[in-house]
Symmetry: D3
Subunit: 329 residues, 6 copies
Amino acid sequence: MSKIIGSSLPNIPWVDKPENYKMPIWRYPQNPIIGRDAIECSNSVFNSAVVPFKDGYAGVFRCDSKSVSMDLFPGFSKDGIHWEINEKPVTFLGEDKEILKREYRYDPRVCFVEDRYYITWCNGYHGPTIGVGYTFDFKTFYQLENAFLPYNRNGVLFPRKINGYYGLLSRPSDTGHTPFGDIFYSRSKDLEYWGHHRHVMAPIREDASAWQSTKVGPGPIPIETEEGWLLIYHGVINTCNGFVYRVGCALLDIDEPWKVKCRSKYYVLAPYEYYECVGDVPNVVFPCAALTDADTGRIALYYGCADTVTGLAFTTVNDLMDYMKKYPL
Amino acid sequence: MSKIIGSSLPNIPWVDKPENYKMPIWRYPQNPIIGRDAIECSNSVFNSAVVPFKDGYAGVFRCDSKSVSMDLFPGFSKDGIHWEINEKPVTFLGEDKEILKREYRYDPRVCFVEDRYYITWCNGYHGPTIGVGYTFDFKTFYQLENAFLPYNRNGVLFPRKINGYYGLLSRPSDTGHTPFGDIFYSRSKDLEYWGHHRHVMAPIREDASAWQSTKVGPGPIPIETEEGWLLIYHGVINTCNGFVYRVGCALLDIDEPWKVKCRSKYYVLAPYEYYECVGDVPNVVFPCAALTDADTGRIALYYGCADTVTGLAFTTVNDLMDYMKKYPL
Amino acid sequence: MSKIIGSSLPNIPWVDKPENYKMPIWRYPQNPIIGRDAIECSNSVFNSAVVPFKDGYAGVFRCDSKSVSMDLFPGFSKDGIHWEINEKPVTFLGEDKEILKREYRYDPRVCFVEDRYYITWCNGYHGPTIGVGYTFDFKTFYQLENAFLPYNRNGVLFPRKINGYYGLLSRPSDTGHTPFGDIFYSRSKDLEYWGHHRHVMAPIREDASAWQSTKVGPGPIPIETEEGWLLIYHGVINTCNGFVYRVGCALLDIDEPWKVKCRSKYYVLAPYEYYECVGDVPNVVFPCAALTDADTGRIALYYGCADTVTGLAFTTVNDLMDYMKKYPL
Amino acid sequence: MSKIIGSSLPNIPWVDKPENYKMPIWRYPQNPIIGRDAIECSNSVFNSAVVPFKDGYAGVFRCDSKSVSMDLFPGFSKDGIHWEINEKPVTFLGEDKEILKREYRYDPRVCFVEDRYYITWCNGYHGPTIGVGYTFDFKTFYQLENAFLPYNRNGVLFPRKINGYYGLLSRPSDTGHTPFGDIFYSRSKDLEYWGHHRHVMAPIREDASAWQSTKVGPGPIPIETEEGWLLIYHGVINTCNGFVYRVGCALLDIDEPWKVKCRSKYYVLAPYEYYECVGDVPNVVFPCAALTDADTGRIALYYGCADTVTGLAFTTVNDLMDYMKKYPL
Amino acid sequence: MSKIIGSSLPNIPWVDKPENYKMPIWRYPQNPIIGRDAIECSNSVFNSAVVPFKDGYAGVFRCDSKSVSMDLFPGFSKDGIHWEINEKPVTFLGEDKEILKREYRYDPRVCFVEDRYYITWCNGYHGPTIGVGYTFDFKTFYQLENAFLPYNRNGVLFPRKINGYYGLLSRPSDTGHTPFGDIFYSRSKDLEYWGHHRHVMAPIREDASAWQSTKVGPGPIPIETEEGWLLIYHGVINTCNGFVYRVGCALLDIDEPWKVKCRSKYYVLAPYEYYECVGDVPNVVFPCAALTDADTGRIALYYGCADTVTGLAFTTVNDLMDYMKKYPL
Amino acid sequence: MSKIIGSSLPNIPWVDKPENYKMPIWRYPQNPIIGRDAIECSNSVFNSAVVPFKDGYAGVFRCDSKSVSMDLFPGFSKDGIHWEINEKPVTFLGEDKEILKREYRYDPRVCFVEDRYYITWCNGYHGPTIGVGYTFDFKTFYQLENAFLPYNRNGVLFPRKINGYYGLLSRPSDTGHTPFGDIFYSRSKDLEYWGHHRHVMAPIREDASAWQSTKVGPGPIPIETEEGWLLIYHGVINTCNGFVYRVGCALLDIDEPWKVKCRSKYYVLAPYEYYECVGDVPNVVFPCAALTDADTGRIALYYGCADTVTGLAFTTVNDLMDYMKKYPL
């Protein structure tokens, strides 16, 4: 039995696993929980980052507007399922105008560390890189320096310092629809200067696990367990008709998170449903956030569907660990 | 209040805007109005060009046969919604066999100017270029010289001479699935010799209006209004899983139509419905014709869906103008 | 009236052609007959090869696992519609470990010649090539030498020797999502050494039959008729949003099967249904097997749908012959 | 014996053909006649257009500056071999600022028709197209409307009206290093409105004449002969290490110049010498101008070498005609 | 000390190794020995195949004509250095017109086995494949069946049967400037039916031996030595400015030649000289033939230079073996 | 008059500017100063980094071996012109084996800061990134953490701390022959953790300065002057036959070096000479080091030529400043 190290979350959104269901992750039956037109200006709402907040939930959402401009929007929910998203995007405060200048913002993650909620996202600064900011209340947001040079996507913080350092996973990229991508780990004393970059994992180029043969990138904030950090990540294959984004998981060493202790050979979630297969970018499930309840091991997974809407799915730490060990790479 | 300059069309196909509907264009509920098998040989019927004709409507339709050969077919309708399309393609008459020789024909537009219905289309002549022809009765068709050298697509005539010249919008291209495209204006005294080419508008390469970042091309015959020519056009973005075609609008100067007075930042129609997202070419809405009623400002928009079927949608000149001004580029 | 030369198959799966149906092939109404999760580990089950076996049917199925590893699995059915597929892939016996070493296996065909069932498939050996094996009972399988050097796909045997030689159709390719492809014929005395390679047919690069403009490849085992070999094949067009795979047919000379006597200009099956248009690879119908009944001329066609599930469709030798002659290339 | 129809040019630059030389064109021994640093700011001087002018010669030269900005520069010579090129580029006068605005200019041709020297060149106007201008004295230059919509290169006028129309050859292209290209003919009454576009010739895609398998484009002003228009053109092959530009010739019908009466299978000039094989773009010979002497049939050919320097070569109308007929396509 | 197993060739072309020369292969000082204009129609003469013949030498040469048509030409020499090449290409005799029909022919090898000279070459048959023919006298040539299906290049026979089979190395490819390529071994009883295909060696994708990171292909007929078959092969790297072709060597098992016993990490010949670096395809040395003298271990290596001219270089079996062992992969 | 801030270097290699020479940089007449075979194993020696050391000079050289393996080699010279390069590559000492593991190393720069010589280079660590190390004596070398995540090239340190931080210029890239590239500035307190990334300059995509239209990257260590940091950098254009690398210069703000005060429109050095135009990668001049003498303003520039040999050229701070100001961007 695996155990999550973390807080209780008794009101975690939850639906029991359907009987005889064989996959380790099962969907919320009323998916998508957030439609493409959740706010007036939106073309699509997906790749969302949610956290427990006060007696409910808050989040930062990627809403592409009807100009297909990409930006971050705060949102709030009582139950984690029904969301109110602000009509106005996040405005960041900060000292250096050079950094505050917005080119585009997408694919946020939110991570509570110590006393505040950190947001990391893909931030346009002469190319995509990892933006970093924080908020205490999801009303006022502060922006820090970009973590890295371009070109990079999918910056994912660890929920506590490791050996005295903030830890950050990311996927260096190129300027376009990158046809490659490994996961790397970086660390920082101050969230401003980063170093000690370590390779975590690469695509599996061969038949053994072809769903992750083109690129892999980190998904939600890693989940601390007694066995290590449970990482849910996306993997991509390049078919003759485009990329297919699926979801896998891995177990990272608790002190040296760049060391992979176990990694799923089988995907744990893939585009099966209409809203995952049909949309602005067909065949995409893209996980960006997970709520966890340490008491029960329950995990509620939020994921973008076809770059158009937001889905919710459920699993437990045991389901993922067992599946990963049953079908190891 | 904007006003269309043109004829009354009391029997224009029409459905009122659904309550609380926020987009400026709304669909005909029984879409698609023309299925892929509208005629026996057809694989798909889309990108259609319709005009008022006698007490009803006539049109020229792109039907790709079950050999996926692209040709133009005349069709007729009493109400603009239910169409009878000929089983035989258009045969053009003319003097020069070099020009009459058919390679392929697609994406027609029909434009009534002065005394006859002109047809322009993408015409294969050692590469795609703009074919020009006319008919009085949609039975006998005459072909003129190609307007331009290859490679070009989407030739769209203005419905009256401007300062004594016929005007023609088009989108120069390359020989394949062109990854670029601007709209240009050309003029002619005689529909045979063209010149005075002027740039009208380019894609918006940045986040500000990314739905039109790869290419833009003219759609239906421009609609004359008191404020200028209302142009409905298509815009394309290149995702990792292919092109998405959407619809926008712009206002062109009445005397110098290459001068853009206003242009929509937000798209006005995009692939949302199954028949727009799924088909031979997923995620395409492609407008080719608009009926207008000057009395009411109503516009009935015909558009190809997923390169497979034909859809119908409704708007008014005010809806488009207001939306364009509310979200200007 | 065309006539199949072959065995009776009174229990061939069958549904009569719907009234007024105009295409030469019609689908089984309860398609797909095999879902993507037919076995526990499968992501998708498609491109299947079935034959009459004992008093029912047996087959070899391409099941991509949830790691998207491609392998061959035996399966059995009483009626050709409801299938039990083994949870374990085929294991081949043979003498040379170099040949038995599995890289990946996909797109099998099964062909009964003389005394046994031969299996041919796309076999990974430093690149894709044509693997050859046989079984008597679909329990024990023996692997022979690969027929060709890489790079090749779609090896399809003839069901009897022709002029004393085994005959094999194939589609030479490259290492990736090959954007070209012709059908070739090769022959062998012993199924080990192949030669006398002859070109059979090329894509039609022009508008005349654009659905087969990018590549063509052989499908099910050719069907012997009084007029020649009836070949059902796949053809591919490259759209701006990816490849579309459709189905055509041709008539090959009975003694010199590289000579094409007739070839369909129109496709005979194309992606129309949801399960053909939506899936891991949208817009694919890919035929790999056909059951035939010489008494009635009936043909039951098995085909992969969207690289995800397996469909069944029906036709007769007369339907195909007539359609091919009505719309000749 | 072929005969040039045109003026005498007794002082045409000339060197006799070396003994036993077997190719129809031979080089000036002191090539290149214009070095890359002919003017102070130049990186390269090539693809030059020269004509007889007063008692010597004048020309318009493509000089790429040391910023690799492409522009046109007037130049003068007494003997056609030693040239003085102005340090300042051509400034065009004209009425419409939209047309006069310079993006870039390159690959000029100069053609005397009736009373003035017309210049055509590749003109940047939201993409490359054919600019048109004229001068009487190579001091004051006037710019007319662009002949065509983008994208086009290599506009080459005929030296007299044909059936009352100005004639213009060109090579439609795309926006980059175009991997295709045919020659087309267009005509105009007024040099402003162009039409009656006719295909002249395409690349030879096969082994028969592979040096011209990728694209072909017109070179110098066509030379009128008793047998038709003698066209010297460039042809390109795409090797694994880039394009190789060579030179061929063709004979066009005197009244319908889009009809090719004869065309060389063998090239007549190719990169052999160091200054043709080594430079900013290796392996390019690119002909842009030819002086002719009707009395002797002599032709002095000016051509760009490796996109870096200017070469001079010699031939006669008989040499070219004989070679073309000896090795016909 | 390594020893060649084979005939004496006392009059082998030879120049001693320059003093202090450190590379294992040294050039003939008067290179190139055959210029691009060796025959009247030739654009280039390279990739040549020579053998001892009577009291001198004969060969089959790739001459690209001045139409850049690729064909094979017989040639003769007394000393192996000065060559007379026929002005007319080889004409093959044979029974099946389908096979005799010439599309294009290039990169020949000549191999004496038992009683005749076999020629193998890249033969156009609906794509490049390996043509096979033979001659007794270099006057009359007979063509056999193509060895393989397309797409393949560089067919190289072994000079004797191995375990009763003819052996053939080749490099399967695609239809263009193939960016991949491994060497395979095939065998045949009768030179008509081929099988038992075995992988020999792949490119080295990493820094360890990057000169051969894109593709490798067999060069001259393998040289039998006491230690195994000495294979001289070409290797290619893809730079930002194109492919560079270099030369390496390997030692293959004498009975199972698909087993590589040793392989050079360092190249043994690379483009250094002007005629190797500059030409129609810069930076190519491409070995196609080797003369050997068993008495002295001398090897005279013929190689194409820049796809333009023919070079000659010298080495010994010891030089190659020692170098290969000194810098093993 | 501009003035270098730095040390005297009376024995700087030097040749006076040729009379009437108009470019701001002139070559050493006996170039290349280091040949491709400077050490026994080398295929090429280029992109070299040299500094004053003791009474002469030392450097770290990129030598690609004859396996085309890329590594760093120490070298020494008395006069800066004649160099002895070690036969063995640099071995780095350090604590973490993960970092010390060599994949490949190339394009070094050497920079003296405070008390030691820092080396930065392109270091393979699951993709190219910026390696950092130091030496006191060019005998013992210590390696630090990589500065950045992959993918990055051309790490160039500033020769003193700026506002208390080490400064580092670099060019983020992709995994291959990157077709884009901007220069960025990063800073660090400890050479281990880097942040405060600022954009410095981008390519000039248009005709105005097309030689630097594809990518730009920093060259030698910036030279401190009274007006700011003088940066010599490389710029690249993409022609139809590959990249051409040229050299430009810019003036950066002394305290905020990401602010560009002036930038050359014209290149200051470009491939003109044989050894710059012909070699393993034609048409490359790539500057990596500069010696300076504060007394005279002299600069000796070391640059790689055609990725094959090393060239030396001369200029002065005034020559560069004047030229940059005369032709500003």
